[in-house]
């Protein structure tokens, strides 16, 4: 190549690197957007859409100056040593590149990540301590931030101050409330054809109410966590296989490797593809139970809650109406036995999905 062509190439590529390819996360450059579902709901009326966007900004502020119209009552003023705006700044540094400005799970790195980062805007969180159809508690969010989610790209942020982690949890809750209020208002407006303060108040009350109930929905086992015994593991295995009880083998497979008969289906070209999608529309496979620890934590109570309340946003059903607490413990013990004595190389290997 001729020298002046090389020079040209160098100039063009360095100009590209310095301008377009970097992601500018300075607060002043960032704006909240509307969800695609909102745009679809109100596609016919651009004025209502503009009004909605304006109303959201009025009530929730901007990424640089966030305002929470529904502050968490379980968090007293002394807890909030870090302001929401400071947490927003921390979010931009630690979280935004995956979870996005709106918390839509659509940041610049999100497309490269499997499983995808959580979209907070529906208020659905998988790894929590609560029963079905409940928002997570503040402690649930803090725990995920502190410990990360094993087997995913969500890292443990234990290197941050406890106050910073709590502030991040506040900000995640804020984004979730904001997203769900937006959806609720859009649905109300679609019905009535007009957007007034009452619609906002009603949506805010509804969404804040769901979050306020979370602490009362925590799944607790009365009494000491039972010890695993050979008999309990054997009972657990029966429940795991029994179609009228746990029916776990249908998805997780008899071997526990997440390869049960209903986990996959054949597509039109006869290829084996995941049979289920999660609430966000992504393919999902049952957990390979032979790889410990599990995403929602490896404490016995974590597994108990997972089976008792299911996993929100995914096909894992709640078993509390089908099995007694004692039976759930049997299945927990059997599940833990599946994950024992796995070779470290397999133990550490990447998850499929």
């Amino acid at each position: 190549m001729r020298p002046h062509l090389l020079l040209l190439l160098w100039v063009v590529s360095s100009a590209g690197l310095s301008s377009g390819c970097g992601f500018d996360a300075r607060a002043a450059q960032l704006e909240f957007g509307l969800q695609p579902s909102t745009r679809a709901t109100l596609a016919g009326s651009p004025e209502l859409l503009a009004q909605l966007e304006q109303g959201l900004a009025q009530r929730f502020g901007t990424p640089a100056e966030p305002r929470d119209p529904s502050a968490d009552p379980s968090r007293g003023p002394s807890d909030a040593r870090i302001s929401l705006a400071q947490s927003a700044e921390r979010y931009r540094v630690e979280c935004l590149h995956c979870h996005g400005v709106d918390g839509g799970g659509d940041g610049p790195t999100a497309a490269h990540i499997d499983p995808r980062p959580r979209d907070f805007r529906r208020g659905i969180f998988k790894w929590s301590s609560v029963g079905e159809q409940s928002r997570p508690t503040h402690e649930d969010l803090v725990r995920v931030i502190e410990r990360g989610v094993w087997g995913t790209m969500m890292p443990a942020l234990a290197r941050l101050d406890p106050a910073e982690r709590q502030g991040l949890a506040d900000y995640v809750r804020y984004l979730a409330v904001r997203g769900e209020v937006e959806t609720q208002v859009a649905l109300a407006v679609e019905e009535t054809g007009e957007l007034d303060d009452a619609a906002w108040d009603e949506a805010l009350e509804l969404v804040a109410g769901k979050w306020a109930k979370a602490p009362s929905r925590v799944v607790v086992f009365d009494g000491a966590v039972p010890e695993a015994s050979a008999a309990s593991i054997a009972r657990g295995r029966e429940l795991y296989e029994n179609p009228a009880k746990g029916n776990c083998a249908a998805c997780h497979g008899s071997s526990g490797r997440g390869d049960g008969p209903v986990a996959f289906k054949l597509d039109e070209r006869g290829r084996r593809v995941p049979a289920y999608q999660d609430a966000w529309g992504f393919d999902i496979l049952p957990r390979n139970l032979r790889r410990d620890p599990f995403r929602g934590g490896r404490r016995s109570i974590d597994l108990y809650r997972r089976i008792h309340a299911g996993i929100q946003g995914g096909p894992m059903p709640a078993m509390s109406t089908i099995m007694t607490p004692a039976e759930i413990w049997d299945v927990v013990h059997y599940t833990q036995s599946l994950a024992e004595d796995v070779h470290p190389a397999e133990y550490a290997a990447s998850e499929e999905r």
Binding site: E94, H97, T109, S129, E146, R147, G148, W150, M153, P155, A156, A158, R159, V218, V219, V220, F221, D222, G223, A224, V225, A228, D292, P293, R298, R299, S300, I301, Y304, R305, Q336, S337, A339, E340, D341, V342, P344, A345, Y347, A348, A349, S350
Partner: protein, 251 residues
Amino acid sequence: MRRVTALLIVALLAVTLASFAVAPARGWWLPENASHFGARIDALFTEILWVVTVALVLTLGLLAWAVWRGRADGPRRPVHGSRRLEIVWTVAPGAVLVWLALSQFDEWAELRYASERPAGPVHARVVASQFDWHFVYPGRDGRLGTRDDLDAPYELVVPVGRDVVLELVARDVIHSFFVPALRVKQDVVPGLPTEIWFRVTRPGSFELACAELCGFGHYKMAGRVRALSDAECARYLAELEAEQRWNGGAR
């Protein structure tokens, strides 16, 4: 101009040597050692540093001398090489390198040969993944990979004054377990569980960093190694165990 250049070379050499001379007193040096073999690693480092210093003084000195002397009066006869000189500058560094290789061999064997591994169970499994550290302790049964394992992110707790064996595993790409104060650095390779061992000589909390570029979040992949007395270590593990047995209710 020629003589100014030669003086600049000498000045550069002087600044370099002076900065090394004052570095330890000003805190620009290595973090204070906290492991039983750290002093030997530092001795090797110092040994290599002296070799490099002599080479630097020699080459820069020769360069300064040649520039100073310069071409006194117009072009001279071109030089085609000197066999004797080339043999000297090949054999001498070669001998130095062989000497360095031999002088570090005891340390290498002691810290990496399986036959030198201290007896006893693995203290913890270190799990490296993009972009964090997790630590799994074997629990009461002393075996990893069983239900009573205990786990914690970010901070590894080890006893002071005892042999600690760690098993390093990586979940995704190559990472490197680097604790500067312990003079420990070992690559962590996916599919290749690796054991390392050390003995911490004083209590404290030491920086842990990933020392292998592992992706866009490499710079965030920080951790700590906290060295505690036996009693404090046992208390810490008891707390993790209580967490493991928690029933979800009031604490």
